[in-house]
């Protein structure tokens, strides 16, 4: 066996161009399905983990996929807004802890990067097990915390400021950009949270224009053009009143909200039921009696539906890869048969010298084995390297 391997190695080295071509053909044929399989496995694992760790998502009726994916990943098509009433309804039901998620804005571009601004409550950080890696958590309106990946991309750290981007730059009467204070950076979580800016949901409403702060209208220094009407009970100001676009300790007290909190917009409510029974009951309420305007979805079910499509795509990739592998195998058989025919004289010489047919077969088998082993090893190494390289790309694409 050792001699057969030695002769096979010498032969392969001598015909290294041909051997390398066969090895590369094999490796490429195996590399593609292996890499696709590894990447899809990772895709499945990451998307399922995030979905499974989010029990219920409540939002406006419409696409359940958009609702679930927006609540999980922040980056997909925004669904219709719902209101804070849903969060309060969940709270009042006693079945679950509601975590409002407000996703209506993005940051302005810094270092060629922009990120979603997630308005939520402190419960979100506990629920996702997010820790502060640098600085501190949000404490007052206008504070924000950056995901670790975003902090690196934007090269921002606690003490820096970041601006929200208006939804429509041409709408002068619309929302104004808010300058937010970065007070902390989250520790890396390898999740979509790494690439988002977190603010309190009330800060999000300030960007919405529902809450605001402006110059005092009761001081003596207010210009006459600013005040339209003033009585004991009310003050009416003109458009000339100066709104604050940054929340500071000096102007914090001037910020206030108009209207009923139940009507304030949010994108979704992540509901964390206290038990399996509570989850079923809450789902039942949304399915039957509570409201015609909202829906309650299980992200795990939504993701499962999505993955069934991915499975079908994977099956197609497998089938096409198997076909390619079969064609390659046939071509390699042809090459080997031609090669054996070309080496008939060599085989005849060995036979004349006293070599058995089984030894000749062992020699050829060793060559095929070595080339196959090299091709398969190369494919495995290639697939693993591709997976390592593409894993980060996949994660950044997903999150």
């Amino acid at each position: 066996m050792t001699n057969a391997f030695y002769l096979a190695l010498r032969s392969l080295w001598f015909h290294r161009g041909r051997a390398l071509t066969i090895i590369l053909c094999l490796a490429l044929t195996l590399w593609l399905p292996m890499t696709v399989h590894l990447l899809l496995d990772q895709f499945r694992a990451e998307i399922v983990f995030r979905a499974n760790s989010t029990p219920l998502v409540i939002g406006a009726k419409g696409s359940r996929i958009d609702l679930a994916l927006q609540a999980l990943y922040f980056e997909t098509v925004a669904p219709e807004q719902t209101t804070m009433a849903e969060a309060n309804y969940v709270q009042d039901s006693g079945f679950a802890t509601p975590i409002p998620v407000h996703l209506n804005y993005r940051t302005q571009t810094v270092n060629n990067s922009t990120a979603p601004i997630v308005g939520t409550t402190i419960e979100y950080f506990e629920f996702r097990n997010l820790r502060i890696g640098q600085g501190q958590g949000m404490s007052i309106l206008g504070d924000c915390v950056l995901g670790s990946g975003l902090s690196k991309k934007m090269q921002l750290e606690p003490g820096d400021k970041i601006l929200s981007a208006p939804k429509n730059a041409f709408n002068l009467a619309g929302d104004y950009p808010l300058k937010m204070n970065i007070v902390g950076v989250l520790a890396e979580s390898q999740s979509p949270d790494d690439n988002a800016v977190f603010i309190d949901v009330k800060t999000a409403w300030i960007i919405d224009g529902i809450g605001h702060g402006h110059q005092s209208l009761e001081s003596e220094s207010v210009d006459d053009g600013v005040l339209l009407n003033k009585s004991d009970t009310s003050v009416t100001a003109s458009a000339a009143v100066l709104p604050f676009t940054e929340i500071t300790p000096d102007n914090l007290a001037s910020f206030h909200f108009h209207g009923d909190e139940d009507t304030f917009p949010i994108t979704a409510v992540i509901a964390v039921p206290h038990s399996r029974k509570d989850q079923t009951l809450l789902l039942g309420r949304y399915a039957s009696v509570h409201t015609q305007a909202a829906q309650c979805v299980k992200p795990a079910d939504v993701v499962e539906d999505l993955l069934s499509i991915v499975f079908r795509v994977e099956q197609l990739v497998w089938i096409s890869s198997m076909l390619a592998a079969a064609v390659t195998a046939l071509l390699l058989c042809l090459v080997l048969m031609l090669s054996i025919r070309l080496r008939a004289a060599e085989m005849q010489t060995m036979h004349k010298l006293g070599c058995s047919r089984s030894t000749v077969a062992m020699l050829l088998g060793s060559e095929i084995f070595l080339m196959t082993a090299a091709g398969v090893s190369l494919a495995i190494i290639g697939a693993w390297c591709s997976h390592l390289v593409a894993a980060d790309w996949l994660r950044s694409w997903l999150f």
Binding site: R10, T349, M350, L353, G354, C355
Partner: protein
């Protein structure tokens, strides 16, 4: 050494028939076989080596009845007791000079690849004037050098019988003289019997015996 009696051989689907009523070759000696192309000279060498088996009759080589041996035993006999040299050298192009000489040890279990065998291979190459080329690829050697490598390969196992099938057929006159001298000297040194097929009648005077193959077959003459 070689004793052939009432030997008949024919190839399947061929009109060729070889018939050797009787032939004896004593050991050690050098025998040249001459004869027209297609008369069966190479076939006789293959029968002596056990590559082919006779349809009828017997061949005894080195007191061993070749025809009665199994395939495996004939291969082992060939590896141990018979050396073969071919017209077109039949070296393995992907092996070095030394590996070509050691090939009989690598293609069967009859001879182990020991340090003694390696030493012997190097000594044979040195005797053939190839010590500078031991690690070279055989593709980089001249025709004469290649044939000398082939002779070293044939002599590695110290065979009792050396069969050479037109070993100088592809060589120029000077190289032919060198290769023939190497063959004959080796035969003398190692008490080996050399049976060589040749078309070159100018070489016949170097041999102890000459067999005109065509005439021999017709007359069934015994050569002692």
């Amino acid at each position: 050494m070689i004793d052939i009696r009432q030997l008949k051989f024919s190839y399947p689907h061929s009109s060729f028939d070889l018939h050797v009523p009787e032939l004896k070759i004593d050991s050690p000696c050098s025998v040249a076989i001459v004869g027209p192309s297609g008369s069966g000279k190479t076939t006789l060498l293959h029968l002596m080596a056990g590559i082919l088996t006779p349809s009828v009759g017997s061949i005894t080589v080195d007191e061993q009845q070749i025809a009665s041996l199994s395939d495996a035993a004939r291969r082992e006999f060939r590896l141990r007791r018979v050396g073969m040299v071919f017209q077109n050298f039949e070296l393995i192009e992907y092996l070095s000079v030394l590996d070509n000489v050691l090939l009989p040890c690598r293609i069967g279990n009859a001879i182990s690849l020991t340090s003694q065998i390696r030493y012997r291979a190097c000594s044979l190459l040195a005797a053939a004037g190839l010590e500078q080329h031991v690690k070279k690829s055989v593709t980089k050697l001249s025709q004469g050098e290649r044939q000398r490598v082939a002779i070293c390969r044939a002599l590695l196992t110290q065979p009792a019988l050396l069969l050479a099938d037109e070993p100088t057929g592809n060589l120029d006159p000077d190289t032919t003289e060198q290769v023939l001298a190497l063959l004959l000297n080796t035969v003398k040194q190692h008490d080996t019997t050399l049976v060589m097929v040749t078309h070159d009648h100018s070489l016949l005077h170097h041999f102890d015996r000459t067999i005109d193959f065509a005439q021999f077959i017709r007359t069934a003459e015994s050569v002692a």
